[in-house]
């Protein structure tokens, strides 16, 4: 399978302290890749570095085009939708306005209108809350809104930063079911960062294990799932 995103020698810094050390990742077209690791392993930083939200070096190639030096906005416009840590809700805008914000960069107005309906089909709960101020949504609903907003950008690649964070298990399962459907029906490739390793392994085809800013292991998720020593050493279950 071809790669939608190739990351070579990615390093990142927060001020003086280095958070990533020469990361190499290959995200396959149409697949789901999970980035696992403990707190502080550099998972969120990797996603931020791909989108040029932190100081970084290294090469990122999206579908054959070098995006290493592009601004965050331009990377998004090229089809990379980042669902950020903390959900990034526009709390003072209504649910509908949160979604319609994507119209600002969509040139295909008609398709974008259809996408709103499509997004509501994935997340019927958001449709019920369409005129509500987004800040009043529950945590789970805000996470759904974050995924829905990303979907409105008609992305080729979705970067998901801990979609399970702070949510009840039932909601988490619902969201992961929907992510699976989005991956299959919309052919959106995904790179997902998770603390909840068991859940991510269910969804992902490939896995990278990070430890203190370095890749310590990578391979098909089935392999990690079946290897008890690996699971115990790095994932703690």
């Amino acid at each position: 399978m071809a790669a939608i995103l190739e990351v070579k020698g990615l390093s990142a810094w927060y001020g003086q302290s280095r958070a990533l050390f020469d990361l190499d990742l290959t995200i396959e077209q149409g697949g789901v890749t999970a980035l696992l690791g403990a707190n502080g392993a550099g998972k969120t930083t990797s996603l931020r570095a791909i989108c040029n939200m932190v100081r970084r070096t290294g090469t990122t190639i999206l579908d054959g085009a070098d995006i290493s030096r592009k601004s965050t906005e331009d990377i998004v416009r090229l089809g990379v939708a980042h669902v950020p840590e903390g959900r990034g809700t526009f709390v003072g805008l209504s649910v509908e306005e949160n979604l319609r914000l994507a119209f600002h960069i969509r040139r295909d107005r008609k398709a974008a209108e259809r996408d709103i309906e499509k997004v509501f089909a994935y997340f019927p709960r958001l449709k019920e809350r369409i005129h509500q101020q987004a800040g009043t949504l529950s945590g789970g609903e805000q996470q759904m809104l974050a995924v829905a907003r990303a979907l409105m950008l008609a992305p080729r690649l979705m970067l998901l930063d801990e979609p399970s964070f702070g949510l009840a298990p039932l909601i988490v399962q619902e969201i992961f079911r929907i992510l699976r459907r989005i991956n299959e029906d919309e052919k959106v490739s995904m790179l997902i960062v998770e603390q909840n390793a068991a859940l991510a392994l269910e969804l992902a085809d490939n896995v990278y294990l990070l430890e203190t800013g370095k890749v310590v292991m990578s391979g098909p998720s089935a392999m990690v799932k079946d290897d008890e020593t690996l699971r115990k050493a790095y994932l703690g279950y």
Binding site: G88, F90, G92, L93, L101, F103, G135
Partner: protein
Amino acid sequence: MEFFVQQIASGLTSGAIYACVALGLVMIYVSTDHINFAQGEMAMFATYLAWSMIDAGVPYWVAFGSTILVAFFSGLFIQRVILKPLETAPVLALVVCFIALLSIFNALAGMIWSFTIKQFPSPFPRVDIFGNGLVSAQQIGVVAVTLVMLAILTVFFRYTTLGLAMRAAAQNAASARLMGVRVSWMLALGWGLASGIGAIAGMLVAPIVFLDPNMMTGILVYGFAGALVGGIANPMGAVAGGFIVGVLENLVGSYIIGNELKLSFALIMVVGVLLLKPAGIFGRVIVRRV
């Protein structure tokens, strides 16, 4: 009774001008969280441009329109060239920068057009519309221009995607970038709009107070009062606040404390509102579930 109605009418007229100034302040506040102290002087400078055009024989409304355009692009330019490099600077550095802009525009206007006062034409006749000496066409015109501008801005922010992108950028810049919004251009656009609105305020007030480089100083204080009374984060509130300040200032001035103390009344209102209802009368506290 007649005197009372006259006071209300002239209060609404000055209120309309305060509303414009307040709206300009709000525009920059919501997009950057800063108070632009140079708002008044930028408006004054734009008014001089309009004066020069009219003086050279350009028809009034052509001069009016082109001044707004020039002011818009100057505001854009100021943000891109002067303020963008200061994006990460501490807020005090910005305050100094705004005060510098204030004195630069003031001095520049004095240098180019001299500090002597000039008469500025009004497009509205000073005729008495209802024939009872209470309300002039000039007063109605000033209020109408302000309301039309407010309507245009409301439509822009509520119903266009560019307006939506500006609001999103103001609320959560990081998240707006992840939606592909070029946040720093949205701030520049906010400056352009504020500058254009300021130009309108300047051109409306100049026929009433005469044009001179210091004409906006007092008006800026009333504009502040209007913005704070109505809620500095809320355009509609700021306009309502401007009208409230205009009317109250006039009534309190004529009936209670006299014209000399009017400006201090504006300051009392500011302090009062900040003590009792810091978000302003119409300010909305954004609800956030955590």
